[in-house]
C-alpha cells in the first residue's frame, strides 16, 4: 500500500515535470506543444549515446538537458514562430508534425527496437514495512526540488515576472517593454530542460529507450496538465501527481490493471465535464 503510494508519487513527479512544460508553453505562447513528449525521447537517446561512448552517467544527464534545451529552442524557431498569430488549430497540427518528425528521425538513426539503458541501479530501503526503491525516492525528492525552484523562479525573478505578464496579456506586456519573443524562447528552453529531467527519471523507472518512448507519457502528462487546469503551474504539479497515483493504484488492483490507461483518461473526461477549465484553471471570459 505504502510502496504503491510512493511509486505513484514518483511517477506523478515525472508526469508533473512533463506537464509543467506543456502548461508553461500553453500559458505563454497559447499553443499546445504536442512534440513536448518526444523531447523526453531525445533526452533518453542522448543519454544512450553518451553511455555507449563510455561517458559517465552524470555527463549523460547534463548532455541530455543541454541537447533538449537546444532542441526545444530550434523547434520553436523553425516550426512555431512563423505561425505566431495564426489559428490555434494550425499551430497544433504543426506540433503534431514536429512530433512525427522527431520520432521518425530517431527511428532512422537508432532503429525502432527498444534498447536497454542502464543509467544507474539502486537498492531499496525499508520505510514502515514497505520496500521502497531508492531511485523512486530520488525521483520524488529531486522532482520536488525542481518544482519548488521553478515556482520561486517564476514568482521572484525578473524573467519569471515577465513570463507571468506575457501569459496575462501579451499586448500589454509588449507595451511595457517585455521582449515577448525572447520570453517565449526562454519558456520553450525551460520546458524542454524539464522534459529532459523527466526523461532521466523515466529511465530510472523503465531502463529502455525506443523512438515512441515519449508519446504515451507525453499524452498522459498533457492530460495531467489539463486536469490541473492548463496554464496553471501548481495545477500541472497537482494534475501530474493525481494521475501518477491513480495509475499506480489502478495497476496494483488485478481486476483494474488492464484498464489503467482507460481509467486515467476517463478521470480526465470526468473532471473536464465537472470543471471545464481544470481543477486550478482560471476562468477566462469570452468577449464578443
Amino acid at each position: 500500500m505504502l510502496s504503491t503510494l510512493f511509486d505513484g508519487l514518483s511517477l506523478g513527479a515525472i508526469y508533473a515535470l512533463i506537464a509543467l512544460g506543456y502548461t508553461m508553453v500553453y500559458g505563454i505562447a497559447k499553443m499546445l506543444n504536442f512534440a513536448h513528449g518526444d523531447i523526453i525521447m531525445v533526452g533518453a537517446y542522448t543519454i544512450l549515446t553518451t553511455l555507449t561512448m563510455n561517458g559517465h552517467p552524470i555527463i549523460g544527464v547534463v548532455a541530455a538537458v543541454l541537447v533538449c534545451t537546444v532542441a526545444g529552442i530550434v523547434i520553436e524557431k523553425v516550426a512555431y514562430k512563423p505561425l505566431r498569430g495564426a489559428s490555434p488549430l494550425a499551430v497544433l497540427i504543426t506540433a503534431i508534425g514536429v512530433s512525427y518528425f522527431l520520432q521518425s528521425v530517431a527511428q532512422l538513426i537508432f532503429g525502432s527496437k527498444s534498447q536497454a539503458v542502464q543509467l544507474a541501479s539502486f537498492g531499496t530501503v525499508k520505510i514502515a514495512n514497505a520496500e521502497i526503491n531508492i531511485g523512486t525516492l530520488i525521483t520524488l525528492v529531486v522532482g520536488a526540488v525542481i518544482m519548488i525552484a521553478l515556482t520561486l523562479f517564476v514568482k521572484y525573478t525578473r524573467t519569471g515576472r515577465a513570463m507571468q505578464a506575457v501569459s496575462e496579456d501579451r499586448g500589454a506586456a509588449q507595451l511595457m517593454g517585455v521582449n515577448v519573443n525572447k520570453i517565449i524562447m526562454i519558456t520553450f528552453a525551460i520546458g524542454s530542460a524539464l522534459a529532459a529531467a523527466a526523461g532521466v527519471f523515466y529511465l530510472l523507472q523503465i531502463p529502455a529507450v525506443s523512438p515512441t518512448l515519449g508519446s504515451m507519457p507525453g499524452i498522459k502528462a498533457f492530460a495531467a496538465a489539463v486536469i490541473g487546469g492548463i496554464g496553471s503551474i501548481p495545477g500541472a504539479m497537482l494534475g501530474g501527481v493525481v494521475l501518477g497515483v491513480v495509475e499506480k493504484f489502478a495497476l496494483s488492483v488485478p481486476a483494474l490493471a488492464p484498464y489503467a490507461t482507460a481509467i486515467e483518461f476517463a478521470l480526465l473526461i470526468l473532471i473536464l465535464l465537472v470543471r471545464p477549465i481544470g481543477i486550478l484553471g482560471k476562468k477566462r471570459r469570452e468577449k464578443v
Binding site: 512563423p82 489559428s87 512525427y100 521518425s104 528521425v105 499524452i219 488492464p258 483518461f265 473526461i269 473536464l272
Partner: protein, 381 residues
C-alpha cells in the same frame, strides 16, 4: 422554378467533381476487372482507398466545417469495426447473402459509432478547442483499451472476421458515393451554412439564432456514423481486427489527409486520401525495415510545410500571389468591369471591405486585434 434551378445547380461541374472522381475510379476498375486485368492487390488497394475517403471526408466535417479538432476519429472507426463485425459474424449463420450481411453490419456498426459520437459530442458542448482535442484523444484510447480486454471480442489477439472477398471495393466505392451525396447536400443546405457559421464565430452564430447544441451534436454523430461504416469495411477486408491498429497515430494519419487536402474542402480530402493510401501501399513493400520510418518523416515534413504555408501571417502576400482561385476570380472580374465597385470612394456609405473577424472576434485572433504598431486606416497622426 426554384426546384429546376436547384437541379441545374446540381449538375454544375463544380458540384459534381467529387462524384466524377469516385465514379471514375469505380468504372475504370470495374472495366479492368471484367477484362480480368485487375490484380487482387489493386482491388484491395481500392477498398482501402474507399474507407480512407470515408474517414477523411467525415473528419473534415468535424475539423474543416465545424472547426473543432478531433483526435479520436480512429476510435469511432474502432467501435464500428468491432461491433459491426461482431454482428456480422453471427449474422452469417442466419443469412446466406454476403452482401446483405455487409450492408446490415455497416448500418449497425455505423449506428453504434454514432451513439458514441453523441456521447463525445456532449462534452464538446462545454469544451473548446484544445480541451476538446484532448477529450477526443482520451476517448480513442479508452475505446481501444476496453476492446483489448474483452474476451468476447478476441481480447489482445483481435476479433477474427469473415473476409468479404475481392469484390469489396465495389461496395466500398458505392458506399463512398452515397455518403458523398449525403454530406455534400447537407453542407450546401441551410444546415451546412449554420455549421460553418459556428466555425467562423460561435458567439455571432448564437446571436443569429443558430442552435449550437443541435448542430454540434449533429456533426459529431454524423461524422461518427461514417467512421463506423468505414470501420466495418475495414473489418471485412482485414482479419483479425486488432486494437493496435486504431491507435492515436491512425487518427493523426486521417487528420493529415484532411489537412493536406485543405480543411473544409471535400474534393481535397478525397484526393489526398487516395494519394496517401496509394503512397502507403507503395512504400510499405519498398521500404525495408527501419527505412519504413522515412514514410513518417515525409508525412511530417509535408504536414509542417503545408500548415506553415497556409497559415503563416507573414506569408499572406505570397499566398495571394500564388493562389489559383484568386487568379481565376480576378480574370472573371476584369471581364465585367461594371460589376466592380470601388469601395474606397464610397467608404461612408457601404463599409463592405471591413473584415468581420476583426470586429467581432477577440478570442481567436487576439494578436491581430490590437497590434500596437499598426495605426488604424485613415488615422492621421
Amino acid at each position: 422554378m426554384n426546384y429546376f434551378k436547384n437541379i441545374k445547380n446540381a449538375f454544375k461541374f463544380k458540384n459534381c467533381i467529387n462524384y466524377i472522381i469516385v465514379g471514375a475510379m469505380l468504372i475504370i476498375s470495374l472495366v479492368m476487372s471484367s477484362m480480368g486485368e485487375l490484380p487482387r492487390s489493386s482491388a484491395d488497394l481500392l477498398a482501402q482507398m474507399g474507407y480512407s475517403i470515408l474517414l477523411a471526408v467525415s473528419l473534415n466535417l468535424v475539423v474543416g466545417f465545424l472547426g473543432e479538432l478531433s483526435l479520436g476519429h480512429a476510435g469511432f472507426m474502432c467501435v464500428g469495426a468491432y461491433i459491426g463485425c461482431y454482428f456480422a459474424n453471427s449474422l452469417y449463420e442466419v443469412i446466406d447473402s454476403k452482401l446483405l450481411v455487409l450492408i446490415i453490419s455497416m448500418l449497425i456498426g455505423g449506428s453504434v459509432a454514432a451513439v458514441f459520437g453523441l456521447i463525445i459530442g456532449l462534452p464538446a458542448l462545454r469544451l473548446k478547442g484544445d480541451y476538446l482535442a484532448i477529450v477526443t484523444l482520451a476517448f480513442g484510447e479508452i475505446v481501444r483499451t476496453i476492446f483489448k480486454n474483452q474476451p468476447a471480442f478476441g481480447a489482445a489477439l483481435g476479433l477474427s472476421t469473415k473476409r468479404f472477398g475481392s469484390d469489396l471495393y465495389i461496395v466500398a466505392l458505392i458506399v463512398v458515393l452515397i455518403s458523398l451525396f449525403l454530406i455534400q447536400n447537407i453542407i450546401r443546405s441551410k444546415h451546412g451554412r449554420a455549421i460553418t457559421a459556428i466555425r467562423d464565430n460561435e458567439i455571432a452564430a448564437k446571436a443569429m439564432g443558430i442552435n449550437i447544441t443541435y448542430y454540434k451534436l449533429f456533426v459529431f454523430v454524423f461524422a461518427a456514423f461514417f467512421a463506423g461504416v468505414a470501420g466495418v469495411i475495414f473489418g471485412s477486408k482485414v482479419t483479425p481486427v486488432t486494437y493496435s491498429f486504431f491507435s492515436f497515430n491512425y487518427s493523426i494519419e486521417i487528420l493529415v489527409m484532411v489537412v493536406l487536402g485543405g480543411m473544409g474542402n471535400i474534393t481535397g480530402s478525397i484526393i489526398s486520401a487516395v494519394f496517401i493510401t496509394y503512397l502507403n501501399f507503395q512504400l510499405q513493400d519498398k521500404l525495408p525495415g527501419e527505412l519504413a520510418a522515412l514514410k513518417y518523416l515525409v508525412y511530417a515534413i509535408i504536414l509542417i510545410l503545408v500548415v506553415i504555408y497556409n497559415n503563416a501571417p507573414k506569408l499572406a502576400a505570397l499566398r495571394e500571389k500564388l493562389s489559383i482561385s484568386n487568379a481565376i476570380s480576378s480574370k472573371k472580374k476584369s471581364k465585367n468591369p461594371a460589376a466592380q465597385h470601388d469601395d474606397k470612394n464610397r467608404w461612408d456609405v457601404v463599409p463592405t471591405k471591413i473584415p468581420m473577424d476583426e470586429i467581432v472576434s477577440t478570442d481567436l485572433k487576439q494578436e491581430k486585434a490590437y497590434t500596437p504598431d499598426k495605426p488604424e486606416k485613415g488615422g492621421t497622426e
